[in-house]
């Protein structure tokens, strides 16, 4: 059985490394992106099964990335989790409006994040 591929996009290197470490440990194959454009390019380059996208990223923000992923047939139905460090409540609504399945606020517990992804895949 091939491992599920998760696209992880965040502009902070340390957080990206943390996510990679935790997700690989949980049995995922991780594709990384440092900004919105890279995330979309990565989704074009290979099939992905789910995505973890940060909202505040250079080039393209996370909500726009989610919208574009939803617009592509290959990624229209995959589980997408959005991460945000914003204080405002309406960011959660914006994530849902963009088409994300779940939303977590930073700082997050890596363990909880993995659990949420498992829930979304189920």
């Amino acid at each position: 059985v091939s491992r599920p591929v998760v696209l992880v996009a965040d502009d902070d290197e340390d957080i990206l490394a943390l996510l990679v470490l935790r997700l690989e440990r949980a049995g995922y194959e991780v594709v990384v992106a440092h900004d919105g454009r890279e995330a979309l390019a990565a989704a074009e380059a290979q099939p992905i099964d789910l995505a973890v996208i940060d909202v505040m990223m250079p080039e393209l923000d996370g909500h726009e990335v989610v919208r574009r992923l939803r617009a592509r047939p290959a990624t229209a139905g995959i589980p997408i989790l959005v991460l945000t460090a914003a204080a405002q409540e309406h960011v959660a609504e914006a994530s849902a409006a963009a088409g994300a399945d779940a939303h977590m606020r930073k700082p997050f517990s890596p363990k909880e994040l993995v659990a949420r992804l498992e829930e979304l895949r189920a």
């Binding site: 470490l21 505040m56 460090a85 204080a87 405002q88 409540e89 309406h90 997050f108 517990s109 890596p110």
Partner: protein, 427 residues
């Protein structure tokens, strides 16, 4: 045409005033003429009476009186002069007849002229009156349509802005100054919206910059603490690091919360709040801290009605109350969280057996950054934001918060949250 309302109103009032003045002038002239005609008729009567008297007693004295009466009229004067020389002859009678007839004719003529003038004046006055009324009606409808209604629209929009709806704009219709008002109003709304957007961006940025490093700290700590081979000592140290990272995170959240409130950006979610459950969750979340502090934390729940409000904010409010109570309660003390139903409102009380707060300081406790002397002297950590946040959240829900404390005995914070409230205040 001038676009200035003052000039226009000046011209319009000037026209109406001139029209009214003209009507008055015509009326006054007519009255004057009538008076002149009446005076002339009376004069004619006097002359005719004088002529009759002369006819009956043809004396030079009577002729002299008659001459005095007609001295302003050269024709009649001529007749009277001739009369004096023919007094007593039949010619005198004919002259007196001529004087009487002439006087009557002049009087009638005068009266006819006055009558004609009066008729003309009446017509002019009625016309002027109709004209003035029409002009005033025109002016009123102009005022309503181009001034009053646009101003009223702008006032309504201003009230909407005041309640927080910054998307409202007014049509730039009407005349002169009302158009200027609408344009200025729309420009103001644009810049308000822009500054609101900048504020939002600012909060997002600050929040992002503060939370991103904390995300790494807390995330990596979790990874490290998951390692079972970690030495007991290292684990203890890292747990201290984690607790403090959490404290920093809470502080960041509190500061951003109050900054948003300050900026008028507190937005409550509209959710169903099951206060019993929210309270139970908060008590459970505080249990590890209570155990660490050696304080007995107890929940005395009661069924209360579910109401509309912001569940997370209510949870934050109760968290703050419990964590405050725990902070000020010495080991072996108690913290009791009581929930009760008071008909139209839920009542939440958090009572501790802590150090209490001096009377003089109680009033200031809900101020931002205010810290009780008991807190500073005992080096109890905190930024003095907890109760300010509690008050903000409670009041945003239409409720009230009060504090009762006795030094050395403990403190009770009582929160009342109404089940029904006007959401409009915050939504």
């Amino acid at each position: 045409v001038s676009r200035n309302l003052i000039t226009r109103m000046g011209i319009a009032s000037g026209v109406v005033a001139a029209l009214v003045a003209a009507v008055f002038l015509v009326l006054v002239t007519a009255v004057q003429d009538q008076q002149d005609a009446t005076a002339s008729a009376r004069h004619a009567q006097t002359v005719i009476a004088g002529a009759n008297a002369t006819r009956q007693h043809p004396t030079p004295a009577a002729v002299e009186r008659l001459a005095e009466l007609v001295k302003d009229d050269p024709v009649q004067s001529g007749r009277v002069t001739r009369l004096a020389s023919v007094l007593g002859s039949p010619l005198a009678g004919r002259l007196l007849d001529a004087i009487t007839v002439s006087e009557q004719a002049t009087s009638e003529n005068r009266s006819d002229l006055a009558q004609d003038k009066a008729d003309l004046a009446t017509t002019l006055a009625i016309g002027g009156l109709i004209g003035s009324v029409a002009l005033i009606a025109l002016l009123a409808s102009y005022l309503i349509r181009f001034i009053v209604l646009p101003v009223r629209r702008t006032a309504r929009a201003a009230r909407r802005i005041a309640t927080g709806d910054l998307t409202v704009r007014v049509p730039e219709e009407g005349d002169a100054e009302p158009i200027e008002l609408a344009q200025a109003f729309n420009a103001m709304a644009d810049s308000l919206q822009e500054s609101e957007r900048l504020k939002d961006e600012f909060f997002a940025l600050v929040s992002h910059e503060l939370r991103t490093p904390l995300t790494s700290i807390i995330g990596y700590l979790e990874l490290v603490l998951d390692d079972e081979e970690l030495s007991e000592e290292a684990r203890r140290f890292l747990e201290v690091v984690e607790r403090n990272a959490q404290r920093l995170l809470r502080l960041v959240g509190d500061m951003l919360f109050l900054a948003q409130v300050e900026a008028g950006r507190l937005s409550l979610e509209s959710t169903d709040v099951d206060l019993e459950r929210v309270t139970a969750d908060a008590v459970e979340a505080a249990r590890p801290a209570a155990e660490r502090a050696g304080v007995n934390l107890a929940l005395h729940g009661a069924p209360v009605r579910t109401f509309n409000g912001d569940r997370d904010r209510c949870g934050q409010m109760i968290d703050n109350l419990i964590s405050n109570a725990l902070k000020f309660t010495p080991p072996d003390g108690r913290v009791d969280v009581r929930l009760s139903d008071a008909g139209d409102r839920a009542i939440l009380e958090v009572t501790d057996t802590g150090s209490g707060i001096p009377d003089a300081e109680q009033a200031r406790l809900f101020e931002r950054f205010f810290r009780a002397s008991s807190a500073t002297s005992a080096a109890i950590p905190g930024a003095g934001l907890g109760l300010a946040i509690v008050k903000t959240i409670v009041e945003a829900h239409g409720g009230r918060v009060a504090l009762a404390s006795r030094e050395g005995e403990g403190t009770t914070v009582r929160v009342e949250l109404p089940y029904e409230r006007a959401l409009a205040a915050v939504a």
